[in-house]
């Protein structure tokens, strides 16, 4: 079994596959060490769900790196996978071995996601130095030991942006503003409190960057209020002097390799279409973690990675039989997307299954999450509130197996009671 990427998703898959009996499991990682992006996420808040402990990112990574070594997972570091064929032939390269060719019985994708950049937003203005994604700034400050600027504006209220606002302030920089184009926060509420409010950093909703100014280096950004169609409102411009603009404007699953294999991707998640075992549209290929859809918590990435790893181990051992009938899941009222996109009703005979979803709009009051099968309600739960930045899950009980055998489509809606 080959795992592409040694972050939390890939490591969880590798360890789970070894525990399920896969004999040879190799993690191929392009960085010089395992752990993925967790190594630069030095803040705490990781592990409460998966490990029952509150750990900083590197400590959470360390736990799974150690587990991988203990369970006999092999690793190939500093190695870039260039291409994978549908027959699972893997071409990779590193500076020690040149080009390597490997053949895998099953492949687990664990490439994670990457940040949207200035190019994805098309912000007008000059192109000076001093425009970074929040994650790049995080790596510079937390791993390499460089401060990317002194006076910051942060565009986007994603978690990494807010966490960097706090980090930069603690390191002596001034964070002038966090601007968010949507009328609500895009990251976790707790980060608004502990990263912005604690340090008196203003958050301005329904505002974005209209223009970047500066010749050699960023000298100012011009912010502007937007209307409900997200178009700039003339007369609301504000020029904010600063030397650095950080972008925390969303993450996109990284699927160049999957696409070249011919794996079907979901345009809503930008990740592979998966079944309840994290199997993709091409037999023998599985997907673990943020490469499928962007999770809010690493703990869920770990659990999803374990599912993918076990499925891949079963595939290698010939324990996977193709589904006779599968249900399509789809998004209803106030739901942006649902994962997995396919569900084999027979999987419920082995235990409860979980649907994961993201809402389109926040609702700060009690809501009902309703699952219907061909229009008939089969499961529901109450949430005290829903927020686009926080994933919602709903369980399907094993008893539903029988009634879902003849159904075609599952729809999930989030309704006000």
């Amino acid at each position: 079994m080959a795992v592409i990427g040694g972050g939390p998703g890939g490591l969880a898959a590798a360890v789970a596959a070894r525990e399920r009996g896969a004999e040879r499991v190799l993690v191929i990682e392009r960085a010089e060490e395992l752990g993925g992006i967790l190594q630069q996420c030095i803040h705490n808040g990781f592990g409460l769900e998966a490990l029952g402990r509150d750990l900083p990112g590197p400590a959470y990574a360390q736990h799974f790196v150690n587990r991988a070594h203990e369970t006999g997972v092999q690793t190939l570091l500093d190695t870039m996978v260039l291409e994978i064929t549908p027959q699972r032939r893997i071409y990779a390269t590193n500076s020690r071995q040149g080009v390597i060719e490997l053949c895998a019985g099953a492949v687990v994708f664990g490439m994670g996601c990457r940040e949207r950049t200035r190019g994805a937003l098309a912000i007008p203005g000059t192109r000076p130095a001093g425009v970074f994604t929040a994650g790049t700034a995080q790596r510079l400050v937390n791993i390499e030991g460089y401060m990317p600027g002194r006076r910051f504006v942060i565009l986007g209220s994603g978690d990494i942006g807010m966490i960097m606002a706090r980090r930069l302030t603690l390191e002596g920089a001034r964070v002038e503003r966090v601007l968010e184009i949507m009328p609500y926060l895009s990251g976790l509420k707790r980060n608004w409190v502990q990263c912005l409010q604690d340090f008196h950093i203003p958050l301005q909703l329904s505002r974005t960057v209209l223009e970047i100014r500066g010749t050699q280096r960023v000298e100012a950004v011009v912010s502007v209020a937007v209307d409900d169609r997200m178009l700039p409102i003339a007369g609301t411009e504000e020029t904010i002097p600063c030397d650095t603009l950080l972008l925390s404007v969303g993450l996109i699953p990284e699927n160049e390799l999957s696409r070249r294999v011919g794996i079907a991707l979901d345009p809503l998640t930008a990740g592979p279409i998966v079944d309840e075992g994290m199997g993709t549209s091409v037999p023998g290929f599985y997907a673990a973690g943020n490469v499928v859809h962007v999770y809010d918590l690493v703990d869920w990435v770990t659990l999803a990675g374990e599912v993918a790893g076990r499925s891949a181990a079963d595939y290698i051992a010939g324990r996977v039989r193709p589904a006779v009938h599968r249900l399509r899941t789809c998004a209803g009222e106030n739901v942006r997307y649902v994962v997995p996109q396919w569900l084999d009703p027979e999987s419920l005979a082995l235990g409860a299954q979980q649907l994961q979803l993201r809402v389109r709009r926040p609702v700060e009051e009690k809501v009902k999450v309703v699952v219907t099968a061909d229009g008939v309600e089969i499961a529901h739960k109450t949430e005290r509130y829903v927020r686009p930045g926080e994933m919602v899950t709903v369980k399907l009980a094993p008893e539903l197996c029988e009634s879902l055998r003849s159904a075609q489509e599952l729809q999930v809606s989030v309704l006000k009671p």
Partner: protein, 122 residues
């Protein structure tokens, strides 16, 4: 006079909204907590707000120039700048193991600062 205050619990990523009733500055009731930790958080947040501090210290001879570190418990928020300044003067030498004590009993609080990961020698 009962005063109402709304807080967001930061103990875990759930971010529960806590509706706190105060009488003369003391917490008399909390609603909305998802677990027991929310009650303790509300008490602390009104009287003595505390946060876990995570930062980095210099590491010599390691595969990276910085070692991520964290406090073993939440420290008084007002003293965090002081603690950050003190940790700026701390340095260690590789190898370091996750959980190694980097600074003991900081701010005379009984709280230690620990390494957040292993860092091998370069």
């Amino acid at each position: 006079m009962i005063e109402k205050k709304s807080l967001i619990c930061v103990t875990c990523p759930m971010g529960c909204r806590l509706d706190v009733s105060l009488d003369g500055g003391s917490v008399v009731a909390v609603e909305g907590e998802g677990c027991k930790r929310g009650l303790a958080y509300a008490q602390d947040e009104i009287k003595d707000p505390r946060r876990v501090l995570t930062t980095t210290v210099t590491i010599f001879d390691g595969i990276h120039p910085l070692l991520p570190v964290h406090t073993t418990a939440a420290v008084p928020m007002a003293r965090i700048p002081e603690l950050v300044a003190a940790l700026r003067k701390v340095s260690v030498t590789a190898p370091v193991r996750v959980g190694d004590v980097v600074a003991a009993d900081v701010l005379d609080s009984g709280i230690d600062v620990l390494a957040s990961r292993d860092i091998q020698r370069r």
